[in-house]
Protein backbone atom coordinates (compact mmCIF):
# COMPACT_ATOMS: atom_id res chain seq x y z
CA UNK A 1 0.00 0.00 0.00
CA UNK A 2 2.76 2.37 1.01
CA UNK A 3 4.69 1.49 -2.10
CA UNK A 4 1.71 2.26 -4.27
CA UNK A 5 1.28 5.58 -2.53
CA UNK A 6 4.91 6.42 -3.07
CA UNK A 7 4.72 5.51 -6.74
CA UNK A 8 1.61 7.65 -7.12
CA UNK A 9 3.31 10.62 -5.45
CA UNK A 10 6.36 10.27 -7.69
CA UNK A 11 4.15 10.20 -10.77
CA UNK A 12 2.31 13.31 -9.57
CA UNK A 13 5.56 15.10 -8.89
CA UNK A 14 6.89 14.32 -12.34
CA UNK A 15 3.66 15.46 -13.99
CA UNK A 16 3.62 18.73 -12.03
CA UNK A 17 7.18 19.59 -12.96
CA UNK A 18 6.61 19.09 -16.71
CA UNK A 19 6.14 22.39 -18.65
CA UNK A 20 2.45 23.33 -18.77
CA UNK A 21 0.89 23.74 -22.19
CA UNK A 22 -1.63 26.58 -22.01
CA UNK A 23 -0.47 28.26 -18.86
CA UNK A 24 3.11 28.34 -19.99
CA UNK A 25 2.14 29.67 -23.35
CA UNK A 26 -0.15 32.27 -21.85
CA UNK A 27 2.54 33.41 -19.47
CA UNK A 28 4.99 33.56 -22.31
CA UNK A 29 2.42 35.59 -24.21
CA UNK A 30 2.09 37.99 -21.30
CA UNK A 31 5.81 38.43 -21.05
CA UNK A 32 7.09 38.91 -24.54
CA UNK A 33 10.00 40.88 -23.15
CA UNK A 34 11.60 37.64 -22.10
CA UNK A 35 12.35 37.04 -25.74
CA UNK A 36 16.07 37.31 -26.37
CA UNK A 37 15.99 40.92 -27.50
CA UNK A 38 19.13 42.05 -25.76
CA UNK A 39 21.37 39.35 -27.16
CA UNK A 40 23.10 39.56 -30.48
CA UNK A 41 21.48 37.77 -33.40
CA UNK A 42 22.07 34.05 -33.18
CA UNK A 43 24.05 32.36 -35.90
CA UNK A 44 22.04 30.19 -38.28
CA UNK A 45 21.43 26.86 -36.68
CA UNK A 46 21.62 24.91 -39.93
CA UNK A 47 22.47 25.83 -43.50
CA UNK A 48 23.83 29.08 -44.86
CA UNK A 49 22.26 32.45 -44.40
CA UNK A 50 19.98 33.67 -47.15
CA UNK A 51 21.42 36.87 -48.54
CA UNK A 52 19.19 39.89 -48.70
CA UNK A 53 20.18 42.98 -50.65
CA UNK A 54 18.49 46.32 -51.02
CA UNK A 55 17.71 46.86 -54.69
CA UNK A 56 16.28 50.35 -54.47
CA UNK A 57 15.13 52.92 -51.95
CA UNK A 58 12.85 55.85 -52.63
CA UNK A 59 11.61 58.19 -49.97
CA UNK A 60 12.43 58.10 -46.25
CA UNK A 61 13.46 54.63 -45.07
CA UNK A 62 15.52 53.48 -42.12
CA UNK A 63 16.98 50.24 -40.81
CA UNK A 64 18.14 48.95 -37.45
CA UNK A 65 19.45 45.70 -36.03
CA UNK A 66 16.79 44.46 -33.63
CA UNK A 67 19.02 42.38 -31.41
CA UNK A 68 21.54 45.09 -30.66
CA UNK A 69 20.61 47.36 -27.75
CA UNK A 70 22.99 50.07 -28.85
CA UNK A 71 21.88 50.06 -32.44
CA UNK A 72 20.41 53.24 -33.83
CA UNK A 73 18.21 53.85 -36.77
CA UNK A 74 20.18 54.54 -39.93
CA UNK A 75 19.14 55.63 -43.38
CA UNK A 76 18.64 52.69 -45.70
CA UNK A 77 20.70 52.78 -48.87
CA UNK A 78 20.43 50.92 -52.13
CA UNK A 79 22.95 48.18 -52.68
CA UNK A 80 23.62 47.29 -49.09
CA UNK A 81 23.24 43.80 -47.64
CA UNK A 82 20.93 43.20 -44.71
CA UNK A 83 21.51 40.88 -41.78
CA UNK A 84 19.06 38.72 -39.95
CA UNK A 85 16.99 40.59 -37.35
CA UNK A 86 17.11 43.77 -39.40
CA UNK A 87 14.10 46.01 -38.93
CA UNK A 88 13.06 48.38 -41.68
CA UNK A 89 10.61 51.26 -41.35
CA UNK A 90 9.44 53.54 -44.11
CA UNK A 91 7.72 56.91 -44.13
CA UNK A 92 5.21 58.63 -46.36
CA UNK A 93 5.73 58.09 -50.06
CA UNK A 94 8.56 55.62 -49.52
CA UNK A 95 9.26 52.35 -51.26
CA UNK A 96 12.01 49.83 -50.62
CA UNK A 97 12.72 46.83 -52.82
CA UNK A 98 14.57 43.87 -51.28
CA UNK A 99 15.97 40.90 -53.13
CA UNK A 100 16.31 37.53 -51.42
CA UNK A 101 18.98 36.07 -53.70
CA UNK A 102 17.25 34.46 -56.67
CA UNK A 103 14.18 33.39 -54.70
CA UNK A 104 12.07 36.40 -53.97
CA UNK A 105 11.62 40.11 -54.38
CA UNK A 106 9.87 41.90 -51.54
CA UNK A 107 8.61 45.45 -51.86
CA UNK A 108 8.15 47.34 -48.63
CA UNK A 109 5.54 50.01 -49.28
CA UNK A 110 5.04 53.39 -47.63
CA UNK A 111 4.40 53.73 -43.90
CA UNK A 112 5.46 50.18 -43.13
CA UNK A 113 7.55 48.46 -40.50
CA UNK A 114 8.95 44.99 -41.11
CA UNK A 115 11.48 42.71 -39.52
CA UNK A 116 13.56 40.02 -41.21
CA UNK A 117 14.33 36.82 -39.39
CA UNK A 118 15.14 33.16 -39.99
CA UNK A 119 16.99 33.84 -43.22
CA UNK A 120 18.15 30.35 -44.19
CA UNK A 121 19.33 28.54 -47.25
CA UNK A 122 19.90 24.83 -47.04
CA UNK A 123 20.58 23.27 -50.40
CA UNK A 124 17.77 24.31 -52.66
CA UNK A 125 15.47 25.14 -49.78
CA UNK A 126 15.24 28.82 -48.89
CA UNK A 127 13.27 30.15 -45.97
CA UNK A 128 12.60 33.54 -44.47
CA UNK A 129 10.25 35.05 -41.94
CA UNK A 130 9.08 38.59 -42.47
CA UNK A 131 7.32 40.15 -39.53
CA UNK A 132 4.93 42.93 -40.43
CA UNK A 133 3.89 45.32 -37.69
CA UNK A 134 1.98 47.81 -39.82
CA UNK A 135 1.73 48.74 -43.46
CA UNK A 136 1.92 46.53 -46.54
CA UNK A 137 4.52 44.47 -48.33
CA UNK A 138 4.38 42.78 -51.68
CA UNK A 139 6.24 39.49 -51.93
CA UNK A 140 6.97 37.94 -55.26
CA UNK A 141 8.38 34.47 -54.64
CA UNK A 142 9.88 32.46 -57.47
CA UNK A 143 8.46 28.99 -57.08
CA UNK A 144 10.53 27.39 -59.82
CA UNK A 145 13.93 28.00 -58.24
CA UNK A 146 13.53 25.48 -55.46
CA UNK A 147 11.72 24.69 -52.29
CA UNK A 148 10.67 27.98 -50.72
CA UNK A 149 9.27 28.72 -47.31
CA UNK A 150 8.66 32.44 -47.16
CA UNK A 151 6.42 33.44 -44.32
CA UNK A 152 4.93 36.83 -43.67
CA UNK A 153 3.65 37.18 -40.12
CA UNK A 154 1.07 39.78 -39.18
CA UNK A 155 -0.90 40.14 -35.97
CA UNK A 156 -3.87 38.44 -37.63
CA UNK A 157 -2.36 35.68 -39.70
CA UNK A 158 0.73 33.97 -40.92
CA UNK A 159 1.08 33.50 -44.64
CA UNK A 160 3.26 30.92 -46.24
CA UNK A 161 4.12 32.01 -49.74
CA UNK A 162 5.49 29.22 -51.87
CA UNK A 163 5.51 30.69 -55.31
CA UNK A 164 3.29 33.64 -55.93
CA UNK A 165 2.97 37.40 -56.11
CA UNK A 166 1.12 38.41 -53.00
CA UNK A 167 0.46 41.66 -51.20
CA UNK A 168 0.19 41.38 -47.44
CA UNK A 169 -1.27 44.06 -45.26
CA UNK A 170 -1.28 44.70 -41.54
CA UNK A 171 -3.62 47.65 -41.35
CA UNK A 172 -5.09 47.34 -37.93
CA UNK A 173 -8.64 48.42 -38.72
CA UNK A 174 -8.97 46.28 -41.82
CA UNK A 175 -9.69 42.56 -41.73
CA UNK A 176 -7.95 42.10 -45.07
CA UNK A 177 -4.67 40.31 -44.68
CA UNK A 178 -3.55 39.32 -48.12
CA UNK A 179 -4.31 39.74 -51.78
CA UNK A 180 -2.68 37.47 -54.28
CA UNK A 181 -2.03 38.56 -57.82
CA UNK A 182 -0.65 35.34 -59.24
CA UNK A 183 0.08 31.89 -57.90
CA UNK A 184 -1.05 30.41 -54.65
CA UNK A 185 -0.33 30.78 -50.99
CA UNK A 186 -1.64 29.31 -47.82
CA UNK A 187 -2.76 31.30 -44.87
CA UNK A 188 -3.12 30.30 -41.29
CA UNK A 189 -5.40 32.67 -39.53
CA UNK A 190 -6.66 32.86 -36.03
CA UNK A 191 -10.39 32.96 -35.76
CA UNK A 192 -12.44 33.49 -32.68
CA UNK A 193 -15.79 31.85 -32.59
CA UNK A 194 -18.60 31.99 -30.15
CA UNK A 195 -16.91 29.21 -28.22
CA UNK A 196 -14.39 31.84 -27.13
CA UNK A 197 -11.41 29.71 -28.06
CA UNK A 198 -8.97 30.56 -30.82
CA UNK A 199 -9.59 28.44 -33.87
CA UNK A 200 -6.99 28.01 -36.48
CA UNK A 201 -8.21 27.97 -39.99
CA UNK A 202 -6.04 27.21 -42.94
CA UNK A 203 -6.93 28.50 -46.34
CA UNK A 204 -5.42 28.08 -49.76
CA UNK A 205 -6.08 30.97 -52.06
CA UNK A 206 -5.44 31.38 -55.73
CA UNK A 207 -4.72 34.27 -57.99
CA UNK A 208 -6.90 37.33 -57.61
CA UNK A 209 -8.35 36.31 -54.29
CA UNK A 210 -8.19 38.17 -51.05
CA UNK A 211 -7.96 36.55 -47.70
CA UNK A 212 -9.27 38.18 -44.60
CA UNK A 213 -9.08 37.36 -40.97
CA UNK A 214 -12.20 37.74 -38.97
CA UNK A 215 -12.86 41.22 -37.75
CA UNK A 216 -13.43 40.50 -34.13
CA UNK A 217 -15.60 42.71 -31.97
CA UNK A 218 -13.75 43.79 -28.84
CA UNK A 219 -16.24 42.10 -26.53
CA UNK A 220 -15.36 38.62 -27.65
CA UNK A 221 -11.65 39.32 -27.65
CA UNK A 222 -11.82 40.56 -24.10
CA UNK A 223 -13.30 37.26 -23.04
CA UNK A 224 -10.84 35.17 -24.98
CA UNK A 225 -7.97 36.90 -23.30
CA UNK A 226 -8.41 34.68 -20.28
CA UNK A 227 -8.80 31.53 -22.34
CA UNK A 228 -6.16 32.35 -24.90
CA UNK A 229 -3.52 29.81 -25.57
CA UNK A 230 -1.67 32.08 -27.90
CA UNK A 231 2.05 32.31 -27.88
CA UNK A 232 4.13 34.99 -29.42
CA UNK A 233 6.54 34.10 -32.13
CA UNK A 234 9.65 35.96 -32.97
CA UNK A 235 8.68 38.14 -35.87
CA UNK A 236 12.14 39.53 -36.25
CA UNK A 237 11.08 42.87 -34.80
CA UNK A 238 11.91 44.21 -31.34
CA UNK A 239 10.00 42.71 -28.40
CA UNK A 240 8.52 46.10 -27.56
CA UNK A 241 6.81 46.08 -30.93
CA UNK A 242 5.66 42.51 -30.42
CA UNK A 243 4.13 43.53 -27.12
CA UNK A 244 2.37 46.42 -28.82
CA UNK A 245 1.05 44.09 -31.49
CA UNK A 246 -0.20 41.70 -28.84
CA UNK A 247 -1.83 44.36 -26.75
CA UNK A 248 -3.38 46.33 -29.56
CA UNK A 249 -3.98 43.78 -32.25
CA UNK A 250 -7.25 45.19 -33.47
CA UNK A 251 -6.05 48.69 -32.80
CA UNK A 252 -9.58 49.79 -32.17
CA UNK A 253 -10.94 50.80 -28.87
CA UNK A 254 -14.50 51.47 -28.02
CA UNK A 255 -15.37 53.62 -25.09
CA UNK A 256 -14.32 51.82 -21.97
CA UNK A 257 -13.01 48.76 -23.75
CA UNK A 258 -9.79 47.54 -22.16
CA UNK A 259 -6.71 46.56 -24.10
CA UNK A 260 -7.14 43.41 -26.04
CA UNK A 261 -4.56 40.70 -26.08
CA UNK A 262 -4.33 38.12 -28.77
CA UNK A 263 -1.41 36.25 -30.08
CA UNK A 264 -0.37 34.90 -33.37
CA UNK A 265 -0.36 31.17 -33.36
CA UNK A 266 1.80 29.48 -35.91
CA UNK A 267 0.95 25.94 -36.66
CA UNK A 268 2.22 23.66 -39.38
CA UNK A 269 0.29 24.30 -42.50
CA UNK A 270 -1.76 21.23 -43.23
CA UNK A 271 -3.18 20.77 -46.71
CA UNK A 272 -6.55 22.40 -46.71
CA UNK A 273 -9.50 22.55 -49.02
CA UNK A 274 -8.90 24.36 -52.25
CA UNK A 275 -11.43 27.06 -52.81
CA UNK A 276 -13.07 27.07 -56.21
CA UNK A 277 -12.10 30.04 -58.36
CA UNK A 278 -14.27 33.04 -57.87
CA UNK A 279 -15.23 32.20 -54.30
CA UNK A 280 -14.38 34.82 -51.71
CA UNK A 281 -11.42 33.83 -49.63
CA UNK A 282 -13.17 34.47 -46.38
CA UNK A 283 -16.04 32.15 -45.46
Amino acid sequence: MREQLLIGLVILAVAASAPAGSEGAAKAADKPTTAPATTAPAAPAAGASLKVTVVSVSGPAQKMLAGDEKAKWQALKAGEALDEMTVIRTGFGAKVVLKFEDRAVVTVNNATKVGLSELRKDGDRASANIGLKYGTVRASVEGRQGNNDFRVSTPRAVLSIKGSDTEVGANVDSPKVAHTYTGRFSMTKQMVGLGLKPQIKQMNLGGGQTGSSSFIPPVILTSTKRASQARITNFGIPPADVKTMVNHTTGQRGSGTPSITTGNVIVPTPPGPTLPPGEPGFP
Binding site: P60, A61, Q62, W73, R89, T90, G91, F92, G93, A94, N110, A111, K113, K133, Y134, G135, T136, E167, V168, G169, N171, V172, D173, S174, P175, K176, A178, H179, T210, S212, A240, D241, T244, H248, G251, Q252, R253, G254, S255, S259
Partner: protein, 182 residues
Protein backbone atom coordinates in the same frame (compact mmCIF):
# COMPACT_ATOMS: atom_id res chain seq x y z
CA UNK B 1 -30.07 112.78 -51.80
CA UNK B 2 -28.30 110.62 -54.31
CA UNK B 3 -24.97 111.65 -52.86
CA UNK B 4 -26.19 110.77 -49.39
CA UNK B 5 -27.33 107.34 -50.61
CA UNK B 6 -23.96 106.84 -52.23
CA UNK B 7 -22.17 107.75 -49.03
CA UNK B 8 -24.30 105.36 -47.02
CA UNK B 9 -23.67 102.57 -49.50
CA UNK B 10 -19.94 103.27 -49.42
CA UNK B 11 -19.86 103.20 -45.62
CA UNK B 12 -21.86 99.98 -45.55
CA UNK B 13 -19.42 98.39 -47.98
CA UNK B 14 -16.46 99.47 -45.85
CA UNK B 15 -18.04 98.10 -42.69
CA UNK B 16 -18.90 94.84 -44.41
CA UNK B 17 -15.40 94.44 -45.79
CA UNK B 18 -13.87 95.16 -42.42
CA UNK B 19 -16.19 92.64 -40.81
CA UNK B 20 -15.31 89.94 -43.30
CA UNK B 21 -11.63 90.57 -42.90
CA UNK B 22 -12.07 90.30 -39.17
CA UNK B 23 -13.86 86.95 -39.56
CA UNK B 24 -11.13 85.42 -41.71
CA UNK B 25 -8.45 86.48 -39.29
CA UNK B 26 -10.33 85.39 -36.20
CA UNK B 27 -7.83 84.05 -33.73
CA UNK B 28 -8.07 80.31 -33.20
CA UNK B 29 -8.59 78.98 -29.71
CA UNK B 30 -5.57 77.01 -28.66
CA UNK B 31 -4.85 75.23 -25.40
CA UNK B 32 -1.36 73.99 -24.71
CA UNK B 33 -0.03 76.09 -27.51
CA UNK B 34 3.55 75.87 -26.30
CA UNK B 35 3.63 72.07 -26.23
CA UNK B 36 6.43 70.65 -28.31
CA UNK B 37 7.22 67.34 -29.97
CA UNK B 38 10.54 65.61 -30.70
CA UNK B 39 12.52 67.86 -32.99
CA UNK B 40 13.74 66.78 -36.43
CA UNK B 41 11.52 63.73 -36.40
CA UNK B 42 11.12 62.16 -39.82
CA UNK B 43 7.98 60.38 -40.93
CA UNK B 44 9.40 56.86 -40.38
CA UNK B 45 10.22 57.64 -36.75
CA UNK B 46 6.96 59.52 -36.26
CA UNK B 47 4.82 56.67 -37.56
CA UNK B 48 6.81 54.16 -35.53
CA UNK B 49 6.34 56.19 -32.36
CA UNK B 50 2.63 56.60 -32.95
CA UNK B 51 2.11 52.93 -33.68
CA UNK B 52 2.93 52.13 -30.06
CA UNK B 53 0.50 54.64 -28.55
CA UNK B 54 -3.00 53.84 -27.38
CA UNK B 55 -4.24 57.29 -28.30
CA UNK B 56 -3.12 60.15 -30.48
CA UNK B 57 -2.94 63.69 -29.18
CA UNK B 58 -4.02 66.58 -31.35
CA UNK B 59 -0.41 67.73 -31.32
CA UNK B 60 0.75 64.45 -32.83
CA UNK B 61 -2.16 64.32 -35.23
CA UNK B 62 -1.45 67.78 -36.60
CA UNK B 63 2.19 66.85 -37.04
CA UNK B 64 1.16 63.76 -38.99
CA UNK B 65 -1.07 65.75 -41.31
CA UNK B 66 1.64 68.35 -41.90
CA UNK B 67 4.15 65.60 -42.67
CA UNK B 68 1.72 64.09 -45.12
CA UNK B 69 1.10 67.35 -46.90
CA UNK B 70 4.48 69.06 -46.73
CA UNK B 71 6.79 66.08 -46.29
CA UNK B 72 8.01 67.44 -42.99
CA UNK B 73 6.81 69.35 -39.95
CA UNK B 74 8.92 72.43 -39.31
CA UNK B 75 6.63 73.84 -36.62
CA UNK B 76 8.12 74.13 -33.19
CA UNK B 77 4.97 74.43 -31.10
CA UNK B 78 1.42 73.20 -31.23
CA UNK B 79 0.15 76.70 -31.82
CA UNK B 80 2.21 76.96 -34.97
CA UNK B 81 0.84 73.67 -36.24
CA UNK B 82 -2.73 74.61 -35.47
CA UNK B 83 -2.39 77.99 -37.13
CA UNK B 84 -0.74 76.49 -40.18
CA UNK B 85 -3.52 73.95 -40.62
CA UNK B 86 -6.22 76.52 -39.92
CA UNK B 87 -4.73 78.92 -42.46
CA UNK B 88 -5.05 76.33 -45.23
CA UNK B 89 -8.49 75.23 -44.10
CA UNK B 90 -7.27 71.74 -43.27
CA UNK B 91 -8.38 72.26 -39.69
CA UNK B 92 -11.43 74.36 -38.94
CA UNK B 93 -10.81 77.68 -37.25
CA UNK B 94 -13.81 77.22 -34.97
CA UNK B 95 -12.33 74.12 -33.37
CA UNK B 96 -10.95 74.30 -29.86
CA UNK B 97 -7.44 73.06 -30.46
CA UNK B 98 -6.00 71.28 -27.43
CA UNK B 99 -2.51 69.86 -27.69
CA UNK B 100 -2.94 67.13 -25.12
CA UNK B 101 -6.47 66.02 -25.90
CA UNK B 102 -6.93 62.81 -27.91
CA UNK B 103 -7.87 63.52 -31.49
CA UNK B 104 -11.31 62.31 -32.53
CA UNK B 105 -12.29 60.37 -35.62
CA UNK B 106 -14.38 63.30 -36.77
CA UNK B 107 -11.46 65.70 -36.82
CA UNK B 108 -9.19 63.17 -38.48
CA UNK B 109 -11.82 62.50 -41.14
CA UNK B 110 -12.31 66.22 -41.71
CA UNK B 111 -8.60 66.79 -42.23
CA UNK B 112 -8.24 63.78 -44.51
CA UNK B 113 -11.17 64.92 -46.63
CA UNK B 114 -9.57 68.33 -46.96
CA UNK B 115 -6.11 67.14 -47.92
CA UNK B 116 -7.42 64.45 -50.26
CA UNK B 117 -9.93 66.90 -51.77
CA UNK B 118 -12.82 64.54 -51.10
CA UNK B 119 -15.97 66.49 -51.78
CA UNK B 120 -18.44 63.84 -50.79
CA UNK B 121 -22.07 63.50 -51.76
CA UNK B 122 -25.14 65.68 -51.78
CA UNK B 123 -25.13 66.61 -48.11
CA UNK B 124 -21.46 67.55 -48.07
CA UNK B 125 -21.98 69.65 -51.16
CA UNK B 126 -24.91 71.44 -49.53
CA UNK B 127 -23.54 71.89 -46.03
CA UNK B 128 -19.83 71.77 -46.65
CA UNK B 129 -17.43 69.43 -44.90
CA UNK B 130 -18.46 68.53 -41.37
CA UNK B 131 -16.95 66.00 -39.05
CA UNK B 132 -20.03 63.82 -39.09
CA UNK B 133 -20.34 63.57 -42.84
CA UNK B 134 -16.62 63.32 -43.42
CA UNK B 135 -16.59 60.24 -41.22
CA UNK B 136 -19.48 58.79 -43.16
CA UNK B 137 -17.87 59.59 -46.46
CA UNK B 138 -14.58 57.94 -45.53
CA UNK B 139 -16.43 54.89 -44.23
CA UNK B 140 -18.31 54.69 -47.50
CA UNK B 141 -15.04 54.92 -49.40
CA UNK B 142 -13.64 52.14 -47.17
CA UNK B 143 -10.91 54.41 -45.90
CA UNK B 144 -12.07 54.40 -42.30
CA UNK B 145 -13.39 51.71 -40.05
CA UNK B 146 -16.58 51.81 -38.00
CA UNK B 147 -16.92 54.37 -35.24
CA UNK B 148 -18.52 57.64 -34.31
CA UNK B 149 -17.11 61.11 -34.94
CA UNK B 150 -16.43 61.70 -31.26
CA UNK B 151 -14.59 58.47 -30.55
CA UNK B 152 -10.79 58.58 -30.29
CA UNK B 153 -8.36 56.77 -32.55
CA UNK B 154 -5.46 54.60 -31.51
CA UNK B 155 -1.95 55.07 -32.81
CA UNK B 156 -2.13 52.12 -35.19
CA UNK B 157 -5.48 53.30 -36.53
CA UNK B 158 -4.12 56.75 -37.16
CA UNK B 159 -1.10 55.30 -38.96
CA UNK B 160 -3.42 53.24 -41.15
CA UNK B 161 -5.58 56.28 -41.94
CA UNK B 162 -2.63 58.42 -42.88
CA UNK B 163 -1.23 55.62 -45.03
CA UNK B 164 -4.48 55.37 -46.97
CA UNK B 165 -4.62 59.12 -47.35
CA UNK B 166 -1.04 59.11 -48.64
CA UNK B 167 -1.85 56.54 -51.31
CA UNK B 168 -5.16 58.17 -52.22
CA UNK B 169 -3.58 61.59 -52.69
CA UNK B 170 -1.07 60.15 -55.13
CA UNK B 171 -3.17 57.66 -57.05
CA UNK B 172 -6.78 58.69 -56.52
CA UNK B 173 -7.74 55.19 -55.41
CA UNK B 174 -7.04 52.61 -52.77
CA UNK B 175 -5.45 49.22 -53.45
CA UNK B 176 -7.58 46.26 -52.50
CA UNK B 177 -5.39 45.27 -49.58
CA UNK B 178 -5.90 48.66 -47.90
CA UNK B 179 -9.67 48.84 -48.05
CA UNK B 180 -11.63 48.52 -44.86
CA UNK B 181 -14.27 45.96 -45.65
CA UNK B 182 -17.22 46.20 -43.29
Amino acid sequence: MKAKARHVAFLAAVVLAAGMMGCSQQAIKVSGGEETLPAKEGSPAFLDRLSSQTSVSENDAYRGVLMLVDGEDTSETFRERAERLAATGTAARIWKHDANRPITRGKVAFMICKICKIRGGVIMHLTGATQRYCVRELQYMEMMGPGTPLSPVTGLEFVALLTRADVYRKTGELPAIMEVTQ
